[in-house]
């Protein structure tokens, strides 16, 4: 395929200011078929978003005001009953609290470990950086289901590697005090590599001269990190935190594989509760209402994180 400019502007004396910008705007290069391709791509993307995201969300919103079991064709208007039932349900609030705790702890360790390891890899004294990057990123690209099954075997109180290696006698996944922390540990191990890679990218963007200037002013390594590197990594930290919030409020697979929400409801997170109601009990109305509450909570937390990041950026710039 040969590409040619549809129209090239004749040579002219170099203009200045707004005139030049206007001319550049007019001289947009297009290739044969580009406009059609653009339209097709936009139609496909927009159509997919409408059909696969907007429509199901809209349907779920409407469904949340109904007793909805599509398998038997039930779609009976119940008003706010699903919402009032949920908001007065101990199971729901328990699941929300557990989800909040789970997310906060996993995000904290993901960020802390990710940042610490990224800083260690970035250090000038570290050798084999590529090797370490690969090793730490490997769990991130491993399927979560596979990781969860392996950890389930590792957690077995009699035959599992953890008890055997450390000489312990703990029932990791069935002790209500340990079950949720065990799921958290697996999730942190699986996901911190993602933060490592992002923080490494952020560290590469930290201006060297700022660090050198701090050194000249007598700042130690710890001070350089806290006073210069960490504040400059704030946008990356916010990005990691926001994507983590969105991801962990929906944590589901690890619960399904490791504990199925048990013992009792000790590890039932909100997404598992929604799954249980929708796909085990086929009460799609209740599940949709719970999903909408989760959507609102996720949106609020994301908004707060953005506000916090924006405020921090303004204060740094100001």
């Amino acid at each position: 395929m040969t590409l040619s400019l549809r129209r090239s502007a004749p040579p002219a004396p170099a203009p200045t200011g707004s005139k030049r910008r206007a001319q550049e705007k007019r001289r947009v290069r297009t290739y044969p078929g580009e406009r059609a391709l653009r339209n097709v791509v936009i139609i496909i993307v927009a159509g997919s978003l409408l059909g696969l995201t907007a429509y199901p969300i809209g349907l779920a919103f409407v469904g949340s005001f109904h007793y909805w079991n599509p398998l038997v064709g039930a779609f009976d208007f119940v008003g706010l009953e699903n919402y009032t039932t949920i908001l007065s349900s101990a199971d729901f609030w328990g699941a929300m609290l557990r989800t909040g705790g789970f997310s906060a702890i996993v995000i904290f360790f993901r960020v802390a470990l990710g940042l610490a390891i990224a800083a260690a890899i970035f250090s000038k004294v570290t050798r084999g950086k590529t090797f370490f990057r690969t090793i730490f990123y490997m769990p991130t690209v491993t399927p979560l289901v596979a990781v969860a099954y392996v950890w389930q075997m590792m957690y077995n109180p009699q035959t599992g590697a953890i008890n055997t290696f450390f000489g312990l006698d703990l029932n990791w996944l069935y002790d209500p005090q340990l079950a949720l922390p065990s799921i958290m540990a697996m999730t942190i191990w699986k996901d911190f590599g993602y933060a490592v890679i992002l923080f490494l990218a952020g560290l590469h963007a930290v201006p060297e001269d700022a660090l050198e200037a701090a050194s000249v002013d007598g700042a130690g390594a710890w001070q350089r990190f806290w006073r210069i590197t960490f504040p400059l990594l704030a946008p990356m930290t916010v990005f990691v935190v926001i994507t983590s919030i969105i991801s962990y409020l929906q944590a589901f697979v690890q619960v399904l594989v490791l504990t199925k929400g048990g013992p009792g409801t000790s590890t039932q997170l909100i997404s598992y509760l929604i799954y249980d109601k929708a796909f085990l009990k086929y009460d799609f109305g209740y599940a949709s209402a719970a999903a909408f509450i989760l959507l609102i909570v996720t949106a609020l937390l994301t908004l707060i994180s953005f506000r916090f990041a924006t405020g921090r950026k303004s204060s740094l710039e100001g």
């Binding site: 391709l37 097709v40 599509p70 398998l71 009699q158 996944l173 069935y174 013992p263 409801t265 085990l280």
Partner: protein
Amino acid sequence: MKLARAIAVLGTAALLLTGCGAGSGGETVDQAPSGLPVQGETIKYDPNTLVNDGKPIELEWWLWDGQEKFQAFADSYKKLHPNVTIKTVNQPWESYWTKLPLQLQSGKGPTLFNIHNSYDATLDPYLEPYDIETSDLEADYTGAAAHVVDGKVKYLDYGLMTGLIWYNKAMWADAGLTDSDTPKTWEQFREVAKKLTKREGDTFNQAGFNFNGTYQSLGFLQYQRGYNLFAQDAVTPTLDNPGTVQTMQYFLDLYNVDKVGSKDFGPKAIESFGQGQSAMVYEWGHLNGTLKKNYPSLDYGTFQTPVPDAAEAPYAFDRYNGESTPGINKGASEAEKAVAQDFMKFFLTDKTDMKNLVLNYSLAPAYKPLDSDADIAANPVVKAMGSLDRYIWPGPMPATFETSITKAWQDVLYNGVVPETAISSAQKTIASDLAKTKFKSAEPAYAHYAPSPR
């Protein structure tokens, strides 16, 4: 134009890669087979016909277990009708009950699919009735009458199953136990379990009895004490009764008082039994297939569930349930449904593959021509079940029973909830879930039915 062509080519490739398009398989057959024997007793299957006019056709058959045994039916059928390919697709149990109903609801899904009767209400709207006279089905299949609705049958049982005690023969012998020590009562069982236990202080080397994770099987033993799961109206659940509490307390005492096992030793009883850590477990007959597949070297035996008092016949030993024949998707094409109907006639009269299927799961056969089969009668699991006369069928139990009972047992064992509270909570959940369904129990149809307490 180039762009349009590129899009068309990409689109076609995507369709081909995603496997869209009508399913077809096998070869074209011009002539119907002839001279092949007609099989069956009352239901007859005559293979000397041309299926789908001899044109190739492929059907999907979804299932969650026993793929090899079910595929055997499809393979035998293909020998008679080479133009028909029936492909079994195995799905894990959990995702099966998510994917299948949604596929059926959207008018898609496999032509044939295995059924568990606890999902009866969910699947019923999507099932095509069998094109077989109900009187013929009743004549050939035990319990078929219970599946007749409006003069039609959409599925029925091919075998019947219940709970049993499974024991490790090597451990049994090692403890100095013989056949004569087989316990008949729960008190005798307690003593046998003690003999089979090996521990140093609180550290177990071998559990005498392990019930971790098998609560959905144990959770119905209140029948032995004369308590039904439903009130006389067959609609109101009555799980919260003294029989359930006493049963739960007995098993808790086995762990806490007799120390024949622990909630922390072998968190999954079946795995622990298979790995040779636990000497006895309580599970349904399907465990036979699991053990053969996952632990082929394990030497195990079975005996009938003990009862409170050996001198008196229990109200019922336990509940039993049927393993169901495949359903036909009402939303399939007419051609697919016609082939599926023909296949089901073959399935229901294929004595050889049916025998293998029944033996795989250690079931009491529902197909009457297999009643006197020597191999089935000699199967230790079937033998241990004894007569089904004292087993009750409460109907196709909605899934809420198993999930709520499991939660109650877990709450008691691991979360320190007292049995009465846990059972009461389970009762409330079950009542709430059942209120949204039209479920009616089959308990009143039990030959020895009596409203509880007796």
